[in-house]
Symmetry: C3
Subunit: 292 residues, 3 copies
């Protein structure tokens, strides 16, 4: 797992004032596996994750944070126990998963081209914008909702299909890597009007830069286009940036960050973003992250 | 601990329709011990267990799943943190336990002659039918209710006495093994009318089969008689079956399963049961289990 | 972590009757760290702690146990998941902490001169009497409330300053050890009328005894004076005792205990206390503790 902590600044916290707060996350990852004599690996992944961006209080425990009319397992910003568990069986390039599944769109190449700053900011640069099933680190995800998925990879080709009872979602992607450039195409059928219907990405390394271009048709939320990249500056530091234009937001979004590797699994990170889901406001964060 | 996942089918889910769902369990067992210079082992056992047979949602957290008028620690089908902890001190054949105790009737030989299919189905083949204290993997059990127990074994003889403030239960069993056949007799005094009053079992190996016969007088729930057995078929597979007749159910219950060892702590399991607590309905499950 | 269990007797449980109950605690400590190439240790501490002094039930989950008008993360006597996490970065004698911080007054030398009996009884012998931020093992502490602290030590000198949004507390202590005697002085600015304003301690070893004298000005709770000590009797046993006089209680408080080391991280402990926060009542506990 990993931990991170630092400072986050927002130019307007909703009351007209700016706000600077301590931000932190603790993620303890539990991977448990066994291997059959025939070489099939069977296992489970769970996480104990606690974020401190909001008050750690039972006030949020049981709140209806996703607005589906049903109180949530745990609200987004409180974590004391394990999340929904993902179970899997894997043999060669084939993997079956059930429970809190990864989700085909969430796992599609090019959806997470960068990870901005210390906290990821609002992930505006993720084109499908969470309009599909995804592994949920501090809630249940598709666990208990018949989440199932099939992942397959061979050579330069990979494919992933996932389904759950959450909006009767069925999603899939196929991806192919040619001369170091990965092309991926994904689609989904869902009962939610704001879910992603179609998404396509191109990502690869061009000279000194990793660059990704991503497009998604997010149903009633409209189109979502992202251009993002990463450049190494020196032996231990890189800079990431993105620009996003999405129909659901009135402003074009921008962000830039740095990541400095301090060795031993520790790093110093910080970023600034504006526009997109932030509207006119600016979000700045900086702090350290450590892997354990 | 262990994990398991697969498919469960029920012929009627309560609305007149049949239902097929993903079923899963994740159990992380925490055994912590220390040993004194005099050779006394002192320790604790806790579990983080999550089942996904029902929605993993806070809707069930705090529900009164056992109908005692008090909301539960965690409802049966939700697990994010540790259960009630059992503490013990053990020296030679003598063990004292407090907290979320095992319970004398639950631990009596012959009460769990088999473990049907992937999920255990409804454990109709457990004669005392949970009419007494038991270690509770996803709730508190007797923790916080002054649960205490004393276990003793020497040679072919074993005994166990347990007590708690839950219905002022006091229960005990004695067991003796003679020529490979184990005879056990248990009794209980309790304030709950539906608790077990008397139970007796005979279990042993007869040729190729492990067979157990169990009887319980479950108070106002009446008599409960179980015949169950296990037969090995081939080097890595066995078949288990039971028949149960209990006054609390109008139908005689039956069940049969298979367990196939795939090596490395993994196995393929499945079973079918009907009658008993299922009434006219049929329950089928199949899937994999892995120990870690 | 550690576990402990035993028996606790109180002469009046609030209904006019005496009460004897099983008491227990399970503490699983999770320390996760990484070290940068420059020698900075970055890490986090979390605990899964469950006490069984009260009913382990969701009835207490979410109760407003600290009376601040907001339901608590977890009530004091129930624990299933991790508490609020403390994050830190440490280099040489300097440490920065955020989240569920230790707190300057809680960490000041002389505030915990002894640990009475099996359970610590009511910690009447802690002069600042929890009138400040402290690491909270089964709630959130200052996590999510912008808790930050700076600790520094060099040779015989140490200092600690902490702050949080809980009552806008800012607290600090300085301590110096001279000829085996530690002098410590602490102060705090807080919005809570009953919080500690000033506290001073002297502690050291005098011949066969460890002795500490502590004073605190606890705001509207008035003065709090403690004299406490520990004497070794034989190779594996010690006896601790305290006397406390505090304006907030009508009775002077007394307590005495024994701790007998049984080897391998196990010990037998017991104590008796009266007066102070207990008023006319008497509290007795005895049991075993094991470290793991």
């Amino acid at each position: 797992g990993y931990g991170r902590f630092g400072i986050a600044y927002i130019s307007d916290n909703g009351t007209g004032d700016s706000d600077t707060n301590v931000t932190s996350r603790f993620r303890l990852q539990i991977d448990a596996t066994a291997e059959s004599d025939a070489g099939v690996t069977i296992g489970a992944r769970a996480r104990i994750q606690q974020d401190a961006d909001d008050a750690v209080s039972v006030d949020s425990l049981g709140a209806d944070s996703d607005g589906d009319g049903v109180a949530n397992f745990r609200s987004d910003r409180l974590g004391s126990g394990i999340n929904g568990v993902r179970f899997f069986a894997r043999s060669g390039g084939l993997e079956v998963g059930v429970g809190n599944i990864f989700g085909a769109l969430e796992f599609m190449p090019g959806q997470y081209p960068i990870d901005l700053g210390l906290t990821g900011h609002n992930y505006d640069y993720t084109a499908f914008n969470f309009g599909g099933d995804a592994y949920d680190s501090d809630e249940e995800g598709a666990a208990g909702s018949n989440g199932v998925e099939l992942m397959y990879s061979v050579g330069d080709f990979s494919a992933h299909i996932s389904a759950s009872d959450i909006g009767d979602r069925v999603a899939a992607y196929v991806a192919y890597t040619y001369s170091g450039i990965t092309f991926a195409l994904g689609g989904q059928d869902s009962d939610f009007a704001g879910d992603t219907e179609l998404t396509a990405t191109v990502s690869g390394t061009f000279g000194i830069a990793d660059v990704a271009l991503a497009y998604a048709d997010n149903g009633t939320k409209g189109d979502h286009i992202v251009l993002a990249g990463r450049v190494a500056v020196g032996a231990a530091t890189d800079i990431e940036a993105y620009i996003v234009d999405a129909d659901q937001w009135s402003e074009t979004g921008f962000g830039i960050d740095f990541n400095h590797d301090m060795g031993g699994g520790t790093s110093l990170r910080g970023g600034v973003s504006t526009g997109g889901s932030l509207g006119d406001e600016t979000l700045v964060d900086m702090g350290v992250r450590f892997n354990f």
